[in-house]
């Protein structure tokens, strides 16, 4: 569990830096498309979608991803943490309850 967590922490960290520094040069990745979609959101949603039922890694990924996005956000600190926890809650408590999704970790 801790090995997977370390990998996800590292990947989200890299995605956070890419989102703040490289993605703005490309309109789609720069978060300007839909205003909300970005690499960190997508990665956290993927973790929540494809982890085994009962695992909590998605919640921790949401908290860590939120911290990364809040670091480069002009909004109040915690804004992205709340958004990502909301996304994970939606996936785990609603989508995964009714849709059968394969689990990879």
């Amino acid at each position: 569990m801790n090995k997977k967590a370390a990998i996800i922490i590292a990947i989200l960290g890299i995605f956070g830096i890419i989102q703040a520094s490289i993605a703005p040069h490309f309109l789609f990745l720069g978060g300007t498309w839909l205003g909300w979609l970005n690499l960190v959101d997508a990665a956290v949603a993927a973790v929540a979608l494809f982890e085994k039922r009962g695992n909590r890694l998605g919640w921790w990924a949401a908290a860590w991803g939120g911290v990364l996005l809040d670091l480069y956000s002009g909004r109040f600190f915690g804004f992205w943490i709340i958004i990502l926890l909301g996304i994970v809650a939606f996936i785990k408590l609603i989508i995964k309850k009714y849709v059968r999704i394969p689990s990879y970790w």
């Binding site: 520094s21 490289i22 993605a23 490309f26 978060g31 300007t32 970005n38 909590r56 480069y72 002009g74």
Partner: protein, 282 residues
């Protein structure tokens, strides 16, 4: 206890600690200190990554523009001919302008202390840049940010010790007075988010043409007069509306790596009046 990914950790305890941390990090002093420390640690890496991203983006742009190179070449040839004629005319005007500048003391660096700042990042969902100059470099909120070509980028919205946030003119909550075209029609530029902006409140009896230059006006007091904002893109002249509107193509190059923070040398300049001129010095 196997912290932090163990099931033994009570969810309520984790929530309470997380909420407390978030609350503490929303205290302005703690927030500034924390962000400044993290930006400071990551800035050397991010500066290089930003520059690399800019180069990759420029390379991709150059490849995608090759497909339309032939038409572009023809258009540029015509433009070169036009510009050759205009250059000859401007040569005379330049001499006159240089003379007037000398007399009126209008150079930007005489009105401002220009601080060179590197861009290190951008807010994921808003038009906000992060630059590597902060309160330790005498940067203050509200200062205009411009490019080397004197194109307006935005204004400082938040300052940390060694870094600052720049609200771009394309941000949704950004609006300021401008003058458009040869007639210098007073109107308003409003940010639309997503790196785009619109021009509004242009009276119907005034001519608004695509390609017309948009420059700052001292009326709003946000920017000094005479800085380039961009050019008019599409024009919308709806018969129902009281005013004309349109899009603005911002002049600043988003793929640039450096900007200038313009620190006004006198209160008159900071209020938007670029160099009051000799008559005010009496």
């Amino acid at each position: 206890m196997r912290f932090p990914f163990s099931r033994d950790v009570g969810p309520l305890f984790v929530l309470a600690v997380g909420a407390a941390l978030i609350l503490v990090l929303n205290v302005p002093v703690a927030n500034s200190w924390f962000k400044n420390a993290v930006y400071g640690a990551l800035a050397p890496v991010q500066r290089n990554i930003w520059a690399g991203g800019a180069r990759v983006s420029a390379f991709i742009d150059s490849i995608s523009s090759m497909s339309s190179a032939s038409a572009e070449n023809e258009r540029l040839r015509r433009q070169v001919n036009d510009l050759t004629v205009k250059t000859a005319q401007l040569g005379e005007l330049k001499k006159e302008n240089d003379f007037l500048r000398q007399g009126l003391n209008l150079e930007l660096d005489k009105d401002f202390d220009l601080k060179l700042a590197g861009i290190i990042g951008k807010d994921a969902s808003r038009d906000v840049l992060i630059i590597d100059k902060g309160s330790n470099d005498l940067v203050e909120a509200g200062m205009p940010v411009i490019t080397a070509e004197k194109a307006v980028v935005g204004k400082i919205s938040k300052v940390y010790a060694d870094f600052a946030e720049v609200a771009l003119i394309t941000g949704r909550d950004f609006s300021f007075d401008v003058k458009v075209g040869d007639d210098a029609v007073d109107c308003l530029v409003k940010g639309r988010g997503g790196l785009s902006a619109a021009i509004d409140l242009v009276p119907k009896d005034k001519k608004l043409e695509a390609g017309a230059a948009v420059i700052t006006s001292p009326l709003g007091g946000i920017f000094p007069a005479g800085l380039l904002v961009g050019t008019v893109g599409d024009v919308d002249t709806n018969d129902v509306e009281m005013f004309q509107s349109g899009s603005v193509v911002p002049a600043f190059d988003f793929n640039g790596e450096k900007v200038f923070v313009a620190n006004a040398k006198s209160p008159a300049v900071s209020k938007g009046n670029l160099n009051p001129g000799p008559q005010n010095e009496k």
